[in-house]
């Protein structure tokens, strides 16, 4: 066992740290029209240094960084207080799917514009009657000349209020639940699309409803085989639940901030919770280092999803208890932490997955 960083990773770390120190500045919320464009500009600035997608192949805008280097990048990124990633849905959810199931044409067309945030992607999974039970979704794609026509309604679509395009699952064929679904990409400004922003607890439209009324999707925007959408979507669902959506750097940075906050407001009754938040972040960090050698299986990603989402709530709740009602710099993170146990598959669903697929308890 060895936790040391090699020379290449150390120099990459130094470069990233220095660049961030001279470029990070506060931006408006990405869930406002103006803030969204500020975040798009920030992504372009990152991309100009090939820092927006460090682990990708160079031809798509990356640096072919190792997973370890990506983790180091994330640690530096969050420690620097850099802005949230408006391109996150595309980079961490759609891109891994395209690497695994897309065509060369799709990768060449879609990934470079994603890396530069020329196209910002929203996700379109949930429907009014299909949340945790995603396989009960009802929106359809009907065959049309040279493509498909989308009909139905998606909801809780993160970033959809201001994003350019979206990806989701649609019912294309016979069969029930997981069968007959297809993974499709569509333009949020195409004729027939109506986006209704939904205001979240923080007062801003972080997600939206999407109404689809015969929205045309060309054949080249089908990802994977027609009818194989469930498998295509789930093969990279672990990216959302486990390793990539919420990198450890996010929590180690927040835990360090919490320790600083405690030093300024040392309430001994909250000491244990502060320490436990730091330990939890450290545990997730080390666990992820372990996953570099032995990648997580899908069900194992359920373990980390429950862990980081509950850690995030505990960490932010502790900060709120230290600060009281006036909590500058912590309110947004606290509110967002409360959504963690819900999105990317509720923690109840994840616990079922853990019990049935890791422990082998009967369904």
């Amino acid at each position: 066992m060895d936790l040391s960083l090699d020379a290449g990773t150390l120099s990459f770390q130094a470069e990233v740290r220095a660049w961030l120190a001279s470029h990070v500045r506060p931006l408006s919320s990405m869930d406002t029209a103006g803030g969204f464009e500020e975040h798009r500009s920030w992504e372009r600035l990152l991309a100009s240094e090939r820092l927006s997608v460090v682990s990708w192949p160079a031809e798509f805008g990356g640096r072919e960084a190792s997973l370890l280097q990506w983790l180091v990048f994330e640690e530096e990124y969050h420690a620097s207080g850099a802005p949230g990633r408006v391109s996150q849905n595309g980079i961490f959810l759609l891109a891994p799917t395209l690497f695994a199931h897309g065509t060369d044409e799709q990768r060449a067309r879609i990934l470079p514009s994603m890396a530069r945030a020329d196209v910002v992607w929203a996700q379109a999974w949930s429907e009014p009657e299909a949340g945790s039970d995603l396989a009960s979704l009802r929106s359809t794609a009907v065959r049309s000349d040279g493509g498909w026509l989308l009909r139905g309604q998606k909801t809780w679509s993160s970033r959809a209020a201001f994003a350019d395009r979206a990806f989701g699952l649609f019912r294309t064929g016979p069969g029930e639940r997981h069968r007959g679904l297809t993974y499709l990409l569509f333009d949020l400004r195409a004729p027939g699309v109506t986006v209704r922003p939904i205001t979240q607890l923080d007062g801003e439209p972080g997600f939206a409803e999407i109404f689809l009324d015969d929205v045309f999707v060309p054949d080249h925007d089908v990802v994977g085989e027609v009818g194989d959408g469930w498998r295509v979507a789930m093969s990279t669902a672990g990216n959302e639940r486990g390793l990539t959506l919420r990198s450890p750097g996010r929590f180690t940075a927040a835990a360090s901030r919490l320790v600083e906050l405690y030093r300024k407001n040392p309430d001994p009754a909250l000491r244990d919770r502060v320490v436990d938040a730091w330990i939890g972040a450290q545990a997730y960090r080390l666990h992820t280092f372990g996953a570099l050698a032995q990648p997580l299986s899908g069900p194992a990603a359920s373990v980390t999803k429950v862990f980081w989402s509950e850690l995030d709530v505990a960490l932010h709740e502790t900060a709120m208890d230290l600060l009281g009602e006036v909590a500058p710099g912590w309110r947004d993170g606290w509110l967002f932490s409360l959504s963690g146990p819900i999105y990317a598959g509720t923690n109840e669903i994840q616990r079922n997955v853990i019990a049935e697929r890791l422990l082998g308890l009967p369904r």
Binding site: M1, D2, W278, I279, Q282, A293, G360, L361, P362
Partner: protein, 317 residues
């Protein structure tokens, strides 16, 4: 960066698992008393915990060798204390009895320790953090950086009847400037590893119970309330584990304490859940669970309480 066990380390755990599972505790026959690498020690102690092996193993295999490492070479095995694992045949796992301490340990211990030739098990106290010593053939006492011989006086009851504790009376000084802090941290680390193994064992036995035990016409493991309890136990153990191995790599007080805090909580959560899911049978002396539960509770506060270790982590941040 290579944060994973080598195949040799994985094999070591597997061999120990089979060995202990067969009811054997003569660890010296496997050469376990020659293990000194902290990661290897974690592997060994996770398995000792996995089988709830009682006895002064943390002391004999991890802490005393570290204390004696700089006292100077002696004629005995290893670092000069000649730690040899000699437990009686009936000691152990099945009976829940303490270690089968060899007869005649008392009189010869002092001289033997000094000469580095004594065989048998060793124990040590580090007052005030670790005021009492687990019963063994020979005793040492660490005060600051001074290492002394010691003799057991009053026997004290542990909440775990398989752990017998003694107050110590200080004897002659064996060495000054011993690496006391490192030895103490090795005690904390290996105790954390034991807690991890104890937690795993309780999760395994409880999962099997939940599959086999039927109520309301179906296995209780089919009820979501039970599933979610067990999923939480798995999450706690799975996420405590890397802290233990991380601490073995760095051996910093901060990391060792973090591992102890996390494994204490995860293992105790495993114990409570195990008892709840087993129901009344788990609360009987007939069932094996109690042995694991009681040892977990004792080790949770041995080698420093969770509160003391949280304070150490915060201090280091």
């Amino acid at each position: 960066m290579m944060f994973t066990l080598s195949s040799e380390q994985t094999d070591l755990g597997g061999v120990l698992h089979g060995f202990l599972g067969a009811g054997r505790t003569d660890l010296a026959s496997l050469g376990v008393d020659e293990v000194s690498d902290p990661v290897d020690l974690v592997v060994v102690f996770e398995e000792l915990g996995h089988h709830a092996v009682a006895g002064p193993w943390v002391e004999s295999l991890a802490v005393v060798p570290a204390l004696r490492a700089e006292v100077g070479p002696g004629p005995g095995a290893g670092a000069g204390v000649g730690v040899r694992a000699e437990t009686g045949a009936g000691a152990g796992a099945e009976t829940g009895a303490g270690p089968g301490v060899g007869a005649g340990a008392g009189a010869g211990a002092g001289a033997g320790a000094g000469a580095g030739e004594a065989s048998g098990t060793w124990s040590v106290a580090f007052p005030p953090l670790l005021p009492h010593a687990v019963e063994a053939d020979h005793y040492l006492l660490v005060e600051g950086d001074t290492l002394r011989e010691a003799t057991p006086t009053t026997e004290l009851p542990s909440i775990d009847p398989a752990r017998r504790l003694h107050e110590l009376s200080a004897g002659q000084v064996l060495a000054t400037d011993v690496p006391a802090a490192r030895a103490f941290d090795l005690g904390v680390l290996t105790t954390s590893a034991q807690l991890l193994g104890l937690g795993r064992a309780m999760l395994e036995m409880t999962t099997e119970h939940a599959k086999a035990r039927a109520q309301f016409g179906k296995p209780i493991g089919q009820f979501q309330a039970v599933k979610h309890h067990l999923a939480n136990v798995l999450i706690g153990l799975e996420m405590a584990r890397p802290l233990v191995f991380g601490a073995a790599v760095t051996l910093s007080s901060r990391d060792v304490s973090a591992a102890k805090v996390a494994t204490s909580d995860a293992a105790w959560q495993a114990a409570r859940t195990a008892l709840q899911v087993h129901g009344a049978i788990g609360y009987t002396a007939e069932h094996d669970l109690g042995r694991f539960l009681l040892q977990t509770r004792a080790l949770r506060t041995a080698w420093g309480s969770p509160s003391m270790h949280r304070a150490r982590v915060l201090e280091a941040l």
